[in-house]
């Protein structure tokens, strides 16, 4: 971003003006060429695999393109979007990710903050606890989904534990096969997996708060709540908006858990926007329709991150 430093005067002093200019011209030209060569691989790859697909998403959404088809794609106008508007499964998917995000965002952000505050204290075993809390994050979502798929069975570990701790008072449901518990089950598991990640991000925010603020507060004898309310919370404003944006986008992109655990069921109670896009674009090979879904999804993500940034800026 910052312009490169002007060459140090030491070189220029003894060189006559004309030759200096010529020399600089030549070096800057070769510098430019070398710089472009160094930039080229990354720029070409980003163009090919981010910019082109982004533009394609716009273009293909208005065509009837299929993944593998002997016929070239033809322009169909707003047909795909009209179909989207009358697709009850798509609305269900929107509702589901909305529900998922509304619960996961505060739950995960809140729990992660509590954990970050616990970990931020220099007590014995901090490294151990941090490692353990972070373990699910390095575990792939596919593995986590398999594991919880097993634990959520009617006769699985979760229900056995529920039965034990309530002395048989509560009989657990068939979590993933019941429309009323399938989404909460996936929410719980997703928070379990992702909370360690955001704990670390909160932690790095906590460490930017100057320690002398806390020392001053200790001298004034403030309560723990006041410490949190007047020092920690305001000190985390930048981290807060970042965490809200990342968790929300992650939540809206819900896919892996659904694909491994429920395939959108039972009765579409867990289907999501990305799952629908993959179903139509890949399973049914309707690239055009899938692009329309992707486009709508992208616009939603964009609007939400802009809105969140705007709102969190207002508060400061």
């Amino acid at each position: 971003m910052t312009p490169t430093i002007v060459r140090p005067p030491a070189t220029a002093v003894s060189v006559p003006t004309r030759t200096r200019n010529v020399k600089r011209d030549r070096t800057s030209k070769s510098e430019e060429r070398a710089g472009l060569a160094m930039l080229a691989p990354a720029v070409i790859l980003l163009a090919l695999f981010i910019f082109v697909p982004a533009i394609l998403a716009f273009g293909l959404a208005f065509t009837n393109a299929r993944l593998i088809s002997p016929y070239p794609a033809t322009f169909v106008g707003f047909n795909n979007f009209a179909r989207l508007l009358t697709d009850p499964t798509f609305f269900r998917a929107l509702l589901n990710v909305g529900y998922f995000a509304l619960v996961v965002v505060p739950m995960q952000a809140g729990l992660a903050l509590v954990m970050a505050i616990l970990i931020n204290k220099q007590v014995k075993g901090t490294t151990f606890f941090r490692t353990v809390y972070f373990l699910p994050v390095v575990t792939s979502m596919v593995v986590v989904s398999l594991l919880w798929l097993f634990m959520y069975r009617q006769d699985g570990l979760i229900n056995v534990i529920l039965d034990r701790v309530t002395f048989g008072l509560v009989t657990g449901p068939d979590w993933l096969n019941d429309t009323s518990t399938s989404m909460p089950a996936i929410i719980l598991m997703s928070v379990w997996q992702g909370v360690g990640f955001h704990m670390i991000i909160w932690l790095s925010g906590l460490q930017t708060i100057p320690a002398d603020l806390y020392e001053a507060a200790d001298l004034d004898g403030v309560s723990r709540w006041q410490r949190f309310r007047y020092i920690t919370w305001p000190g985390l404003s930048a981290t807060r908006s970042l965490i809200l944006v990342t968790i929300t986008i992650q939540a809206l992109s819900l896919f892996t858990q659904i694909s491994v655990m429920t395939q959108g069921g039972p009765l579409n109670s867990t289907t999501t926007v990305v799952y629908e896009a993959v179903e139509s674009g890949f399973a049914q090979q309707e690239t055009g329709y899938a692009s329309a879904i992707s486009l709508v999804f992208f616009i939603i993500v964009l609007l939400i991150s802009v809105a969140q940034r705007f709102l969190s800026r207002e508060k400061i």
Binding site: M38, L45, I50, L67, V123, R130, S140, V143, T246
Partner: protein, 311 residues
């Protein structure tokens, strides 16, 4: 006793100090209980997965109602692991994933650091526009691009080697490179390298230039050797999604020999489900990452923390 009382009466600070330590101790007990409780919550499913992978199915279900569910007791064996290798080409999947992740990480470090070097150190026209465009791509989640990208890679020219020789085809579907090349250039890696390079004093490369070093030599011998932490961060942030990738290979790889580990889970639900085997396969594909995480714990945590600057 009396002296102590006098002392506390005289110096208010001592009183304050004493009362806060007392308060801290009692709070610490609660905090400690909370820490342990959370640790149990995060650990028990993983422990359960590992322990179950050593037991036959019948015993897994039999042990559920007691603490034995979390203990390697009873009929312990590696039978499930042996069965996993019978059911799926697990070794092949592991080799594929190791290869794909390693190449993506190494190429990613090279390509992204070179770009960041040019953006940080060299005079290139329009570089601030390039940097802005690169950073702008960060807001696009991969999931929104995945479907158009499948269509797109299916149009790209490709070449193949076979007994018939070397020939061109269309479509990257069903190859190794479709699992690697789209993920080499990464805007966030470029951003991280750029931030790090900006923190290295420019006098260093000015001095190297005086000695007649070319740009590439400055990159290789001055900047990169000083960028260990940035390299580690980028390596980890590239490795994790590469190893864990699921959605993408699910769509673009059909041939069994080319599949990565995560797609392999599908094999376990085709006929009779053996949960012991599922847990064994899960353990098998998690272990490499967990081992790396425990070995490079500090770098892992730092790299995640640095992703906090995103956005």
């Amino acid at each position: 006793m009396a002296i102590a009382e006098v002392a506390t009466a005289v110096t208010p600070h001592a009183v304050l100090g004493r009362s806060t330590t007392k308060k801290k101790r009692s709070l610490d007990l609660g905090g400690w209980l909370l820490r342990v409780g959370l640790a149990v919550l995060f650990l028990f499913p993983i422990l359960f997965m590992f322990v179950s992978s050593l037991k036959p199915d019948q015993q897994i279900f039999g042990d559920l109602s007691s603490i034995a569910a979390f203990l390697p007791v009873g009929n312990i064996s590696m039978d499930n692991y042996a069965a996993v290798f019978d059911r799926v080409p697990a070794a092949r999947f592991l080799v594929n994933s190791i290869g794909i992740s390693a190449i993506t990480v190494i190429a990613g470090i090279l390509v992204n650091s070179l770009a960041a070097f040019a953006l940080s150190r060299m005079r290139v026209r329009g570089k601030s526009v390039i940097l802005t465009l690169i950073i702008a791509t960060l807001i696009v989640p991969f999931e929104t691009l995945a479907l158009p990208l499948v269509w797109w890679v299916n149009q790209l020219p490709s070449f193949e080697l076979s007994e018939l020789g070397f020939y061109f085809t269309t479509g990257w579907i069903d190859t190794y490179h479709v699992q690697i090349i789209p993920f080499i250039a990464n805007a966030f890696s470029i951003y991280l390298f750029h931030q790090y390079f900006e923190s290295i004093p420019k006098e260093l490369d000015e001095a190297a230039r005086m000695d007649g070093a070319g740009w590439f030599r400055i990159y290789r011998q001055v900047i990169m050797p000083l960028s260990g932490p940035a390299i580690a961060t980028v390596a980890i942030l590239t490795f994790l999604p590469a190893w864990n990738s699921y959605l993408w290979p699910l769509m673009v790889v059909q041939t069994e020999e080319l599949r990565p580990v995560m797609v392999g889970v599908q094999y376990f639900f085709q006929l009779n489900v053996s949960w012991g085997e599922v847990m064994a396969y899960s353990t098998l594909i998690t272990l490499p990452v967990v081992a790396l995480f425990i070995a490079f714990q500090r770098s892992f945590v730092n790299s995640i923390a640095s992703s906090g600057v995103k956005g």
